[in-house]
């Protein structure tokens, strides 16, 4: 009994898990908008009102 008989089904199960995760993310709409999230992450960090020189990192020009 070679190890391949264990590994091969295991690989199939992992592939199935990957596909299942992909299907889940597609159904959740993760691939609907591929442009905005890239922009959003740049300035999503601060949420408190504008307070003077708080975000110096953003205005280093």
């Amino acid at each position: 009994m070679s190890v391949i008989y264990v590994v091969l089904p295991l690989a199939a199960v992992m592939a199935a898990a990957g596909v299942a995760a992909f299907i889940w993310s597609v159904r959740r709409g993760q691939f609907d908008d591929l442009d905005t999230p890239a922009i959003r992450m740049v300035h999503d960090d601060e949420d408190e009102p504008d307070a003077g020189g708080k975000e110096i990192g953003m205005t280093n020009r």
Partner: protein, 873 residues
């Protein structure tokens, strides 16, 4: 405001009048006439000022810093100052609100003016500015925002007003249901690709073990295990993602049409069955490596094409949604904004200047001119007075009207035309694409070759007969062709979209590549689509005076005269040439006699003539008094102490003005050329004769020559008056029978139908009156500034004015089709070689696995090498 002070880049001590004062909001130069002395913040327009104030008041100044991070061209803000009352109306709620389980509501808006990362930031800060808004998510490419809010805290009209005052006028997204369906279809497609990819990857891994076994030997038990595992993945790939090919082929067979799906399905099916059988009996070839890759590649090709077409559709939907959805209804003595759907016959609605009429009805108060170009094709506005009928879709040009509604929705004239459009699009024969036509022959050849192979091998060596026949069917599966067509089309559509040509379906490219009959609508395609001064005979010096007087009218002729003040004088211009450069006004020289020409406006503002009226800070410095307008006649008034009458010859003569013989000759010359004459009388004596016409675009003659060279017989099909059309045709060198004017929408359809009997017909048009003809033609092309109906009916939309985009489009169509042809030749060569190997019984799965990707990559290379729209990606 340290940042804002820094924005004013005017260097101290240089009193240049053109020094750049920068708008505090959009960063564009402020026109000199609008610079306010002594203010630290300057604005280029009212919209920018409003938006700046709102942003500042809400504590969102960080917007400007976020924007500095992006390198996107600045745009002036546009606000409408509307009340958006209709967004709270029960009818609107039913149409657009989507309630959620937790009691909150969601709505989707298309936003005008979103274009950069800072816009995303600002729009998504909405919950902080307006309590009650729970979430606001912007999809920047579609300009679509989804807003979730709590009705008990804030009304949708408040949200809409806030978005408006931030410079993003919202429009409800009209086709939520269609988009949801499309999104679900997208999801299913993506999942198919995911599954096909996973299967293909695993089968390839297993196959490499088997390929290794071919060279070095492999124990039978492992070989059998790998073959079974391959079969498992292969069957999944064929049964789930691959099922769309079988369904497509089945549908094609049932309707007895040739389709590329048929040979693909044939290859997949025979390969799948033979592979499964061989895996079970434990001998012979399994083909799952090639088959799963094939399924994956074909799906990816189709996905790309689908996504490209969806982009075009998204952009068009955005245009649809920009059309107004509200009407101002008179309720007692109040005026309330209500959704168009809530207007009923018998209601009285208000139509302001510059707005389009919401429903068919009769005017019950007010006098105005109505632009019916989109409905009838008639380029000259019609005067309306109480008792006259106005139609939905026409644009009220000059003054406020009250209209008693008689028909709404599909009972209006526009609605009836739209039904005609639907009928035509249903009855249109499906287009058999080039690849499908080839596929028809392909199937026949393959089946004959397979039969011959089977028969010959049955005679030579019966045990290999089935195997060899099946191998032939699989290796000749038209993968390259199935991939080439969507890829070439996708690339062409993508490049077209970047050049502002939106194409809804790839098959249009094929039809456009051949040549045939092309019908052009006159207004908006060949000509500029609006009146302009073409001749000015007589005293040039009165031009500024005329402009100052005409500023008080919103009539298109008045607009043309105002615009012509700073235009280059016609060759007839005499001594008054220098007058336009610097004129003495109220005792002092103005620094900038020319109006603030680069005055930024909302992008779509240019379609409504009245929106340009706010650029009046200079002309008003001439002293104008006693202005009196006569509907359908002209305008009179006193400018700088001189009495001026400007209007139609009849009107000016009726006012008692005398006309000198040379000017009278000029007048009859203008009439003879089918232009509109306007007389200018100063102090009771005609000083100038102006010819106004819808001028032919500069590039039109050249474009027509090019179209002729490309094999198109160009004809004019217009709803405009026959004489006007004949005049335009004469100037373009088109013969009489090729220029038809005064046609009703139904007559246009008949013309298109007749021409369609002898080859492909392209209809280019912009109005509702063209919509039926657009849908009846093989390819309908709607042009810039057209009506919603024409967009719905057309396959192609040109977002740039003029005829040159059409020439470009046809060039692109030809090069796309050439690319498809090249791919086909490459694919056929491949099939001939591999096919003969298979018939000779010399093909092995390893060979197939090597040759398949080679052919696919050749196709990829050939598709990308095509120079569509003159550029590479």
């Amino acid at each position: 405001m340290a940042i804002d002070a820094a924005r004013k880049v005017e260097p101290e001590g240089i009193p240049s009048p053109r020094a750049a004062v920068i708008c505090a909001h959009c960063g564009l130069p402020v026109p000199a006439g609008l610079v306010k002395a002594g203010e630290s913040l300057q604005f280029c327009c009212h919209g920018c000022r409003t938006v700046y104030e709102v942003i500042h008041r809400c504590g969102l100044d960080r917007f400007y810093r976020v924007r500095e991070e992006t390198d996107v061209a600045a745009r002036p803000a546009r606000t409408t100052q509307r009340k958006y009352q209709e967004y709270d109306d029960p009818v609107f709620r039913q149409l657009y609100y989507q309630p959620l389980a937790d009691g909150s509501q969601t709505v989707e808006f298309y936003l005008e003016g979103v274009h950069c990362a800072a816009c995303v930031w600002l729009v998504e800060k909405l919950p902080r500015v307006l309590p009650g808004v729970i979430e606001s998510r912007l999809d920047i490419r579609r300009a679509l925002v989804q807003i979730r809010w709590d009705e008990s805290q804030v009304r949708l009209s408040q949200i809409a007003r806030m978005l408006d005052s931030l410079g993003y006028p919202p429009h409800p997204a009209k086709d939520v249901k269609a988009r949801t369906l499309r999104r679900q279809e997208d999801h299913r497609f993506l999942i198919r690709i995911g599954v096909a990819g996973a299967c293909a990857g695993n089968v390839m891994t297993l196959s490499f073990a088997l390929y290794g076994g071919v060279f070095t030997g492999i124990e039978a038990q492992y070989s059998q295990l790998f073959r079974f595992a391959s079969m498992l993945f292969g069957v999944i790939a064929l049964a789930w993602p691959g099922s769309i090919f079988f369904r497509g082929a089945w549908a094609a067979l049932r309707t007895r049409t040739a389709h590329l799906e048929v040979p693909i399905a044939l290859g997949l099916l025979s390969g799948g069955l033979a592979g499964t059988l061989n895996a079970i009996v434990g001998r012979g070839e399994i083909y799952f490596d090639s088959l799963t890759i094939l399924v994956l590649l074909l799906l990816v090709g189709r996905w790309l094409q689908r996504r490209q077409q969806c982009w075009a559709n998204d952009s068009l939907e955005l245009l649809f949604s920009l059309t107004p959805t509200f009407a101002r209804r008179l309720e007692g003595d109040r005026i309330v904004e209500v959704p168009i759907e809530a207007v009923r016959p018998g209601d009285v609605v208000e139509v302001r200047a510059g707005e389009s009429v919401a429903a068919d009805g009769t005017v019950c108060e007010g006098q105005s001119a109505v632009d019916q170009a989109l409905l009838t094709g008639e380029s000259r506005p019609a005067a309306v007075a109480p008792g006259d009928v106005v139609h939905a879709g026409t644009v009220n040009l000059s003054a406020r009207l009250l209209v008693r509604v008689e028909a709404v929705g599909e009972h209006t004239r526009v609605g009836k035309l739209m039904r005609l459009v639907e009928q035509h699009s249903r009855s249109r024969a499906p287009i058999v694409q080039f690849a499908d036509r080839v596929a028809g022959h392909f199937v026949r050849v393959m089946l004959i070759a397979a039969t011959i192979t089977f028969a010959v091998w049955l005679w030579l060596e019966p045990s290999r007969a089935i195997d060899n026949a099946v191998a032939l069917l699989i290796v000749t599966c038209p993968c390259a062709l199935g991939l080439a067509t969507p890829l070439a089309v996708t690339i062409a559509l993508g490049r077209a979209a970047r050049r502002h040509i939106l194409i809804k379906g790839g098959e249009a490219l094929e039809l456009l590549s051949h040549g045939g009959t092309m019908f052009l609508d006159k207004t908006g395609t060949i000509t500029a689509g609006r009146l302009a001064v073409v001749t000015w005979t007589g005293d040039q010096a009165v031009r500024p005076l005329v402009a100052a007087l005409e500023r008080h009218s919103a009539h298109p002729i008045a607009q043309a005269l105002v615009a012509s003040r700073d235009a280059i004088p016609s060759p007839l211009a005499g001594e008054g040439q220098g007058e336009g450069e610097k004129w003495l006004v109220a005792g002092r020289f103005l620094d900038h006699p020319s109006p603030p020409a680069p005055l930024p406006r909302g992008e779509r503002g240019e379609e409504t003539p009245t929106s340009s009226n706010r650029s009046a800070p200079l002309g008003s410095s001439l002293c104008v008094s006693d202005v009196q307008q006569t509907l359908g006649g002209g305008i009179q008034g006193t400018v700088e102490g001189r009495s001026l009458v400007v209007g139609s010859p009849k009107f000016v003569r009726a006012c008692g003005a005398s006309i000198a013989p040379p000017l009278a000759a000029a007048e009859s010359e203008i009439i003879a050329s089918a232009a509109t004459p306007v007389l200018v009388a100063v102090d009771g004596c005609v000083a100038a004769v102006v010819g106004l016409d819808d001028p032919i675009r500069d590039e039109s003659p050249q474009a027509l020559t090019l179209l002729g060279k490309l094999g198109w017989q160009v004809r004019i099909l217009s709803g405009d008056h026959a004489d006007v059309v004949a005049a335009v045709a004469a100037r373009l060198g088109l013969s009489g029978p090729d220029a038809l004017g005064g046609l009703s929408p139904e007559e246009k359809v008949i013309c298109v139908r007749q021409a369609a009997q002898s080859g492909p017909v392209v209809m280019v048009g912009d109005g509702v009156n063209d919509a039926a003809a657009l849908s009846a033609a093989s390819v309908g092309i709607a042009v810039h500034g057209g009506a919603e109906a024409s967009l719905a009916a057309a396959t192609v939309y040109l977002d740039r004015p003029g005829l040159m985009p059409i020439v470009e489009l046809i060039h692109a169509a030809r090069s796309t089709l050439r690319a498809i042809h090249r791919c086909l030749i490459a694919s056929l060569c491949y099939n001939a070689i591999v096919g003969s190997l298979a018939m000779a019984g010399r093909i092995s799965p390893l060979w197939a696995a090597i040759l398949m990707p080679i052919s696919s990559f050749t196709v990829l290379g050939l598709s990308y090498a095509v120079r569509t729209f003159g550029g590479r990606p």
